[in-house]
Subunit: 573 residues, 2 copies
């Protein structure tokens, strides 16, 4: 299957389309963004300087109706961490880009300050559009205006006001099948990289395009088989559609690992009010939508459309990490409140997780009281207004910790943790410490492992393998939520690669690929100045026992240092 | 000469006094602070955590009337850079500590949050004092209250409100011979380390104490000889006393290296109004004091007491770096305005240089217009008030650059540059890039070198040697402004060491010591996670030509990387 790479120079040097080079032919998603960055970006460049390369790439398998296999990756040198960044999301953009035969969009340079540009991608090719009329506009309004101008069925990738203001926590938003801009490339400030380039949106019109898998008949059969297996599994077939990602909340709370009031406790007295059960009851009784699919073809459908008591839409997909960090971590126990905050963050275009962590730090610093919902709402609005305080919050948890002189700041490599306290779930501490992305749960979510989460000693191998597996999935564009079926039956993954791309890769080879991509990411970070000293959790988690289970993070330092022993296995390619 | 080390555990575990260990016997000042930190501080600790060690040490030669040889060092892991930090200052504290036989004060642990403690040091020993009544008070008021309570002649080291709020730019202030708290241990946030420990002040009462040099008669003779030589030199005997450090301003402006409007130009149309000539005329015509000595015995007397048009005291010592960064860098050309800002910063207890650089970044970010004095004054007041914006400014230039999404931020290792643009004065670029302290001009002020400052290729050896020399001087406690006499006649330094301490060290041995101390500092930084990637100037200085001479920083990268080749010369001790 021939794929194209589109090079867009926003400094005014035009657009160039070329065939995907032979050595990148079998890379998609994270594999393609990270490899491009590792090879082409000066690791010492400023993330907001024109030299930084922004790469957007659908997963290798995107473009068909295969369930949960249409994820989109974006990558750059991160304004938040200073290291390499890949973030991925659902939505329709990857599906549509793949149907247009596009393996990657690579943005270089920067438009003159003040310009506000869009890239329109269609069968006729790629064209830059002046979007000056949308400068400073919220993401929801921008999406509506773009659908009006370019057609209701376009897929969109949008930077919000936070991205235009080049804030380190700015995300990129991707539209879902209904056109709601709520699937976020959330972490690491990729919205700021777009903003620094003057890129407000990518508009993808796949009208008339078609994706031809290597073996169309076998692909159809696999789509059916994979969907059936996902539906038959109790988690992917029943719990995810009903409770969404929030299904995990009471479990994490029970383990004593739910970040509460800036990670000062691991269980929250208001957890019931934030639970998957409560989410399901609320949505279903009000006529909202659960079992919503964020990507074309997805049968897991963990997404939802949260509505207010009158049944009016609030936000598309209230999810666990947001509930944890904008809820329990701020002492808020009401889903209506969290949904409103989520919508605000989405509209401004900031990562809900980093925002929740930053606000938790500020509450600890005395700026406001935990549980003060109106104040939290005002503070998030300040981000969008670009007030000095808003800009501080938009700089992330580490910056807030610095400003308020605190050493209790839940970040690694400058990025905040997700809604799992690593003192209670040690494997996640390994992932937070060791992912090249900073404290990123999706790099290897160890809560899925069948191990005692409080045992510090047995998880190294398992977590390491998880990182390889997830990196492979991120490269193929397969959602990690398929893991209970796909990782349990890797022959399904081999089959998908074969029938869609024609590549007869074994699962072992795909895992090797995952390792190689981690190598490259780590190589970039090394040249950007990262060392083992950065592969550490914040000190307070090593000495401060977490209530109620009084755990500290006690994974031996030697385990952290040996995690990347596979670096030495071979030469970097 | 027997010297004592005082260990103060602020967590409530008391005070311990011990003889200075044999292997530290010949270390003072920076040599003692950096060696202690390198050996005892976990490089991965949070700078505001109780584990961080704060060391205060007079220079090895302090305690006599030898001109310019009574400097005080303080050191810790820096809240601003995350690396090792030593800052040094004049004032009377080093002289008095040395007379009390104290080689170092080492502060560990932290008092419970909210406590405000003082350490009183006298012939009767060391005692912690409750200074709760001074919590949150400005440095001037604190100094006055402490002199009232403990005697008019005590020497003081004080943390201001910024330090108590644990801001990364908080300094420690040292009183001068008149008791004015205006000699700052300015850089790197040492005030925040004190604040995090609950330490508001050190009160040094040397009543009845006496310092006995190894050879009292020879010391007297040397004091006379050294003073005479300093007075006889046209720079140290005439220009420094008359014009102060501002004597260099017009020269730097002429070289096109005076930071103007956030380092966007290298000469300032208002430079005349900030010049050494203007400073001298202003002070002398108003009845202020020039030729003021900041330390006991100093004959260079580069310090001054700036007064308002009515002859009323404004601030003790208006100096070049402050004038450059709070003046030209903010588009302000009026010494009265700069003096008022300087006094404000001193009272709040923040580094004037980092504050000027941070405000320059914020002006570039659009928060206010360059040249708007009332707004600048208000913003500095906000630091003292601890408003969110004040806390952002108090976090330093790098934090402000992040919040406002800028890549034109004049910092290295998170610390702002001094008032020399390294594009015009390349040797200072080497010093900024390569000092373990961040962009610190006092690590090796290359403007003193007899080389073409715009030639990128010839300065490596000279600057390297300067770093060794300055590190040796910082260890001995000798002011670098003596360089034209002391470094030109190193036998004077050998003689001073011999007659005061009894140690027959050659100048070559003292340079070796300087190298060894740099080794140790660099070793700490390496373990804290610093690599060659951090020994770099910000990218904009490599590509953006600086008006009026259109220079970029073009020192070859290989030169930067070979600067520390001497690391490999021997094993670290």
């Amino acid at each position: 299957v021939a794929r194209k790479i589109v090079e867009i120079d926003l400094s005014g040097h035009g657009i160039r389309v070329e065939e995907c080079p032979e050595d990148l032919r079998l890379l998609g998603g994270r594999g393609l963004t990270s490899t491009s960055i590792q090879r082409e970006t000066d690791p010492l460049c400023h993330p907001l300087a024109p030299e930084n390369l922004l790469v957007i790439a659908p997963g290798l398998l995107a473009g068909t109706g295969l369930s949960s296999a249409n994820r989109l990756s974006a990558g750059a040198k991160s304004p938040l961490t200073g290291g390499i960044k890949e973030a991925n999301s659902g939505g329709t953009a990857a599906f549509k880009l793949a149907r247009l035969g596009i393996a990657a969009l690579k943005f270089r340079g920067a438009a003159p300050r003040g310009r506000c540009l869009g890239l329109r991608v269609s069968r006729e090719g790629c064209r830059l559009e002046d979007l000056g009329f949308l400068a400073g506009k919220g993401i929801y309004q921008t999406a509506e205006a773009l659908r009006e101008r370019f057609g209701a069925r376009v897929g969109l990738i949008i930077a919000g006001p936070a991205g235009e203001m080049r804030m380190s926590t700015a995300c990129l938003s991707v539209t879902d099948p209904e056109g709601e801009p709520c699937r976020n490339l959330g972490r690491g400030g990729l919205g700021a990289v777009a903003g620094a380039k003057g890129l407000k949106a990518v508009i993808i019109d796949d009208e008339g395009a078609e994706f031809r898998p290597h073996d169309p008949e076998a692909t159809k059969a696999l789509i059916r088989d994979f969907a059936a297996r996902l539906k038959a599994h109790p988690v992917t077939g029943e719990k995810f559609p009903k409770y969404g990602t929030a299904m995990t909340l009471m479990n994490v709370n029970k383990l004593g690992g739910l970040p509460t009031r800036n990670f000062s406790a691991g269980s929250f007295e208001g957890a019931e009010g934030l639970s998957g059960d409560r989410l399901y009851e609320t949505i279903s009784s009000r006529g909202g939508q659960y079992a919503h699919g964020c990507m074309p073809g997805c049968v897991i459908r963990c997404s939802n459309k949260y509505v207010d008591p009158a049944g009016k839409a609030v936000v598309g997909s209230l999810d666990f990490e947001t509930i944890g960090l904008l809820g329990a971590n701020l002492g808020l126990g009401d889903l209506d409140q969290v949904a409103e905050l989520n919508k605000l963050c989405n509209d401004i275009g900031v990562d809900t997780m980093e925002t929740g962590a930053a606000l938790g730090v500020l509450a600890e610093g005395g700026l406001f009281a935990f549980g003060d919902f109106p104040r939290v709402r005002d503070l998030i609005q300040e981000i969008g207004q670009g007030t000095p305080l808003g800009r501080l919050i938009g700089s992330g948890a580490a910056a807030c910790g610095r400003a308020y002189g605190l050493d209790r700041v839940p970040t690694v490599k400058g990025q905040s943790m997700a809604a799992y306290d690593p003192r209670a779930i040690k494997g996640l501490g390994l992932t937070y410490a060791l992912s090249p992305m900073g404290a990123d749960h999706t790099a290897g979510n160890a809560i899925t492992l069948a191990v005692d989460p409080t045992d510090p000693r047995v998880q190294l191998e398992a977590v390491r393998e998880l990182h390889w597996k997830y990196t492979a999935l991120d490269t193929l564009g397969i959602c990690i939520f398929t893991g209970r079926v796909s990782l349990a039956n890797p022959e399904l993954i081999e089959q998908a690669v074969r029938v869609i791309t024609g590549w007869a890769a074994s699962w072992a080879e795909l895992l090797e690929l995952g390792k190689r991509i981690l190598h490259r990411e780590r190589d970039f970070n090394r040249r950007a100045g990262f060392t083992a000293a950065h592969d550490r959790l914040p000190g307070f988690m090593l000495r401060e026992a977490l209530p109620p289970n009084h755990e500290v993070f006690d994974v031996p330092q030697a385990d952290l240092d040996s995690f990347y022993d596979f670096d030495r296995e071979g030469q970097l390619d």
